[in-house]
């Protein structure tokens, strides 16, 4: 070990806390990486243990081919077979809704359901349903309904039991195989599950079954016989591969977090080396070579990376093994992760690598210190704030290329509703441009800090000397501020992107839902028929319904504009009657201009018939004709999947019957209960009237909304990793700055700044890192999110979720301020005499 390195390591040993601070970001990154590996293991093991749909008792499975009920009986009689369950499913139309009737033995180890109430059906015409199905379809215990399996003949079914399956979709029933076969009118089965006798040899039984099913059938339709273990493994593998896909996405986010950690580590090394500048200069003055110095500093970095990596991995391991026990307390069972040694070593290696890359540039520039620096007084070695010509050039070049790529993408954006469009190349170009823009930000950062600070710091400067000093402190070390702010900006850019993308997609979904699901419920007459008179008035009296809106719909209207279009649906639903219809957006014109003699067109009608707002068209149906002026063109479909939205008078002119063909209504209150109550009110009113269908449009809306929300939440949590590292970086930087500026703190205290004032100043400085980073991040994130959204070609409107972005900004600033609180407190506690005496 050379003398220089020995000196350095002695310094590290003297101040271990400072080394920990330097490596903190890398430590967190190593923790996150290894925790992700462990999380994947936990998830996969839990999935493999619990989530296979095939019961444990199934020894053999006959599947993928023509299987008949006759074969089922013969297989059940084979020696070695204890029990055979035929699996089949019938799709039924029951009281205006869909019911999937699944064959099940109902009891014993081969059953996939558990009886909760009543009994499992054992006679023809009897079924059991799941609890949600009871609510959704109104199939209470003892109810008798007419069911049509698409064969044209209706059968009467009686609900004799309520059963709980593994997954309750709210539209499934269970019955013995024979009942299902009778309903479908077919003797074909999807699959046969076999339970074997205790002493039977699975191989022998399998051969017997294979011989039996092979007899008679052609080779193409011959089913295969596989062991239950294989089937379960297949199912588990499918589930696990989904887990793998999810973790691949997680991995991408973790990679960004690791890069952020590298940036932070570079910045902290720079600060730590700057603090030792005089010592390094002294080493140079007494004869240490430049390269020896650089090597020693790099070795110190390597050691830091090693310690940080090992600590992070051990921490993650402890957390990963504590998790199952912790979740066990709350009654959740998850498997413990193993001890993946290779991944652990890999993570430590990654940490070392990142740290080595991070330490490179600071070590080289620190080793270039002039020996004379040792003789200079500390007060005059001001930190360099500007950037050199080469850096300007590189940064501007990067920014230029990023802008050019973004411009190229903008020029090649797909039009609305493109055909055979592959968004991948353009999307990759957007990501590439964003990456380049970020590199430009890293290069130009120090030069950008001052202008951003000039704007962001303005209100602070007005607040008094403490604010002015904080702004001055950040501006005085612009390089440092830039290094931290860039990482904060990285996190904020991603958050802003996700929020903007999410808000735009949500707006798009809402518009589409306004057209397809304008109300919670729809009650519709069969095609070509009308609802009984007075039904709407009866529904209006119900306390469980609100916004009851009758409408008429004509299915086939011919539209003649610049070109002709046949079979377009038209409706006269009153747009003002339902609040959700207010979400409808127009591409041109205004829906408010709709009056007798005018029409609102769905976008596809306008496009295909070559019409735009202000044009005139001729609509005809059943030999009648009306001339209409186009009042507006919508961005998507018209309500109820119609193409034309007309005034009632004009629809009458097209021969629509006087009575409504459908009714829209909302549940009187929010929540599942109110929805069920509203649904029951609708069913009661329409009871005994054949051909009436009730649809719960609200369910569709909820599904889309909750899927979007979950997706956004997951994305934000993952981005949180990068934000966490950014905040660690702010905390570390503030802590190290405080150490470095202890003399300055002492002076301020000596000339009369109070403890609280000093605390406020240092906390404000650390918050300012957040302000600069968040401002840069939002400025960068929003346009890129818009560009990315445009390249996907989904026709989503560009939305700016101002409040959400403002909240992100404030939260980030609050978090970075919080990161500075502890160092600030420490600095304020030091007595001015001690601070002034520190060399």
């Amino acid at each position: 070990m050379n003398a220089v390195l020995r000196t350095q390591l002695a310094g590290v040993a003297r101040r271990p806390a400072r080394m920990l601070l330097t490596g903190l970001a890398v430590l967190v990154a190593a923790f996150v990486v290894y925790a992700t590996v462990l999380a994947q293991q936990i998830t996969e093991r839990s999935v493999l243990n619990g989530l296979s749909g095939t019961p444990e008792a199934v020894g053999l499975v006959v599947r993928n081919g023509t299987i008949t009920t006759a074969q089922l009986d013969r297989i059940a009689a084979l020696p070695g077979v204890a029990e055979a369950a035929g699996r089949a499913e019938a799709g039924l139309e029951v009281s205006g809704g869909y019911l999937g009737l699944i064959a099940d033995p109902g009891s014993g180890p081969l059953s996939v359901v558990k009886v909760e109430k009543g009994t499992f059906p054992d006679g023809p015409g009897q079924i059991a349903v799941t609890p949600r199905t009871v609510e959704r379809l109104g199939l209470t215990l003892g109810a008798s309904v007419s069911a049509d399996a698409g064969t044209g003949t209706a059968a009467r079914l009686t609900v004799v039991g309520i059963v709980a399956p593994r997954d309750d979709f709210g539209s499934q029933g269970y019955a013995p195989t024979s009942t299902v076969a009778t309903l479908t009118g077919s003797d074909l089965l999807n699959q046969i599950d076999l339970r074997l006798n205790g002493g039977a040899d699975p191989g022998v039984v399998s051969d017997r079954v294979a011989t039996l099913v092979a007899a008679g059938g052609s080779p193409e339709t011959r089913p295969e016989v596989v062991t239950g273990a294989d089937v379960r493994l297949d199912e588990a593998r499918t589930a696990a591969s989904e887990v793998d896909q999810v973790f691949a996405v997680v991995g991408a986010f973790v990679a960004v977090a690791v890069i952020a950690a590298g940036l932070i580590a570079t910045s902290t090394f720079r600060i730590v080396f700057a603090q030792r500048m005089r010592q390094l200069a002294l080493l140079r003055a007494v004869g240490a070579g430049r390269s020896a110095l650089a090597r020693a500093l790099a070795a110190e970095g390597l050691l830091t990376g090693l310690i940080a990596g090992v600590t992070g991995v051990l921490g993650a391991l402890a957390a990963g093994h504590a998790l199952p026990a912790l979740l066990g307390v709350f009654g959740w069972t998850v498997s413990a992760p193993g001890f993946p040694i290779a991944a652990a070593l890999g993570t430590v290696a990654l940490a070392v690598l990142i740290t080595l890359v991070a330490v490179g540039a600071p070590a080289i520039s620190a080793s270039r210190v002039a020996p004379l620096e040792a003789l200079r007084s500390a007060a005059t070695t001001g930190a360099r704030t500007g950037i050199g010509g080469l850096r300007w050039l590189t940064g501007l070049l990067l920014a230029l290329v990023a802008a050019a790529v973004a411009g190229l993408v903008a020029v090649n954006l797909p039009g609305p509703d493109p055909e055979d469009y592959d968004p991948m190349p353009l999307l990759l170009a957007v990501v590439g441009s964003g990456g380049l823009a970020f590199l430009a930000l890293i290069a130009l950062g120090p030069a950008l800090v001052r202008p951003v600070l000039a704007i962001a710091g303005w209100p602070l400067r007005r607040l008094g000397p403490v604010g002015r000093l904080a702004v001055g402190g950040v501006g005085g070390s612009a390089r440092r501020a830039a290094a931290v702010a860039v990482v904060v900006a990285l996190g904020v850019t991603m958050i802003a992107g996700v929020l903007v993308g999410g808000a735009s997609v949500r707006t798009l979904a809402e518009r589409e839902l306004a057209a397809s699901a304008p109300a919670d419920f729809e009650l519709a007459a069969a095609e070509g028929e009308s609802l009984p008179a007075g039904l709407a008035d009866r529904l209006r009296t119900s306390a469980d319904l609100t916004g009851v809106t009758p409408y008429r719909r004509v299915a086939a209207v011919r539209v003649a504009g610049a070109s002709e279009l046949a079979d377009v649906a038209a409706t006269d639903v009153a747009v003002g009657a339902l609040p959700r219809l207010g979400e409808l957006a127009t591409a041109s014109g205004s829906i408010g201009d709709l009056r007798p003699g005018s029409v609102v067109l769905a976008r596809f009608v306008a496009d295909l018939a070559g019409l735009s707002a202000g044009d005139t068209l001729v609509a005809s149906a059943g030999g009648r004709e009306v001339r209409l002026r186009v009042a507006a063109v919508l961005t998507d479909m018209a309500p109820l999947h119609a193409g034309l939205l007309l005034d009632p008078a004009d629809l009458t002119g097209l021969g629509a019957p006087a009575a409504p063909t459908g009714i829209l209504a909302d549940a009187a209150r929010d929540g599942e209960r109110a929805r069920t109550a509203g649904l029951q009110a609708l069913r009661q009113s329409s009871a005994g009237q054949p051909g009436l269908g009730v649809a719960v449009l609200a369910d569709e809306r909820d599904q889309i909304n909750s899927a979007l929300t979950v997706l956004l939440a997951i994305a934000l949590v993952l981005i949180g990793l990068t934000v966490l590292i950014a905040i660690v970086g702010v905390g570390t930087t503030t802590a190290l700055s405080v150490v470095e500026r202890v003399r300055e703190s002492g002076l301020l205290r000596a000339v009369g700044m109070s403890r609280a004032g000093l605390r406020t100043m240092l906390t404000t400085e650390s918050a300012l890192y957040g302000v600069i980073g968040a401002a840069l991040g939002i400025v960068l994130g929003v346009p890129y999110a818009w560009l990315a959204l445009e390249t996907t070609g989904v026709n989503a409107p560009l939305t700016l979720p101002v409040w959400q972005l403002a909240a992100v900004f404030l939260v980030l600033v609050a978090l970075t301020a919080l990161a500075g609180v502890l160092p600030a407190r420490r600095a304020a506690r030091v007595s001015p005499v001690r601070a002034l005496g520190t060399e």
Partner: protein, 261 residues
């Protein structure tokens, strides 16, 4: 301790802060550490500093001169005894009161200048006033800037100034708030002899022209010779004083102190 030029007339309990005393220590004791390792840096010092005079505190290394100044200036708290700034007893006051006193009634000049690198010379000068929320008296500001030769340097940052210029900025900072006392801690320690002499002349001028009270800690007899009076410390105790000192009398006194140990 017999010493020809020394006369300590005041006895501790009779000490009264009269109109012409700006700051005084009464039986001041400062102990660092405790038990066997305790060090009595100040061991019962009683001394007063007159208004409108330039006093130097001198003594060998470890004599407690810096500790005395820190306690007098409210930077450090004494173990026992009193520090009287005008009518105010600074001992056993909460940090808030000490902070306020430093901000409004005391000025500092340090050995290593201690200017804030991110502020311009002008902003450094007005820093204590800014912290107090006061605006500088423009007449005094101009007068100081002219007297200290800083007129062309106000927009410069400390890194763009020479050591002498930095110390003159520090001096302006100490004087601009019209403090009751300016404490100078080895103000010429980091300067070459010409710049040092200039700073000392400026200190003396501020006493003469502005009626400023200045207490300066130094180990340089040449610097002490600029003062009106020299107070000598040894082993945490008062070891004599010299009125109207010159280099020779101060050097003699210091040599005698060293010989007596």
């Amino acid at each position: 301790m017999p010493w020809p030029n020394v006369s300590i007339k005041l006895r501790p309990m009779q000490m009264k802060v009269v109109g012409h005393t700006a700051v005084a220590a009464v039986d001041l004791v400062k102990v660092y550490g405790d038990g066997d390792t305790a060090v009595r840096a100040l061991d019962g010092v009683t001394v007063g500093f007159d208004r409108g005079r330039f006093t130097a505190i001198m003594g060998p290394s470890g004599s407690g001169k810096s500790t005395l100044m820190h306690c007098l200036a409210g930077l450090d708290t004494a173990s026992s005894g009193q520090v009287l700034l005008g009518e105010t007893d600074l001992t056993r006051q909460p940090d808030r009161v000490l902070t306020r006193a430093r901000r409004e009634r005391i000025g500092f000049v340090f050995q290593s200048f201690n200017l804030l690198p991110q502020l311009t010379a002008a902003a450094n000068i007005t820093l204590p006033l800014d912290l107090a929320g006061r605006t500088p008296d423009p007449e005094l500001f101009d007068r100081l800037v002219t007297a200290l030769g800083l007129a062309g340097r106000l927009t410069h940052r400390p890194s763009e100034l020479s050591g002498g210029q930095q110390q003159r900025v520090a001096l302006a900072r100490a004087l601009v708030s019209r403090p009751e006392v300016v404490f100078a801690d080895e103000p010429t320690g980091n300067l070459d002899s010409r710049s040092g002499a200039e700073v000392l002349r400026l200190l003396r001028d501020s006493v003469r022209d502005l009626g400023q009270t200045i207490v300066m800690v130094t180990h340089d007899p040449g610097a002490a010779a600029y003062a009106d009076r020299v107070v000598l410390l040894a082993d945490g105790r008062l070891a004599g004083e010299i009125d109207r000192p010159d280099i020779a009398s101060v050097t003699d006194a210091l040599q005698n102190l060293a010989a007596a140990r």
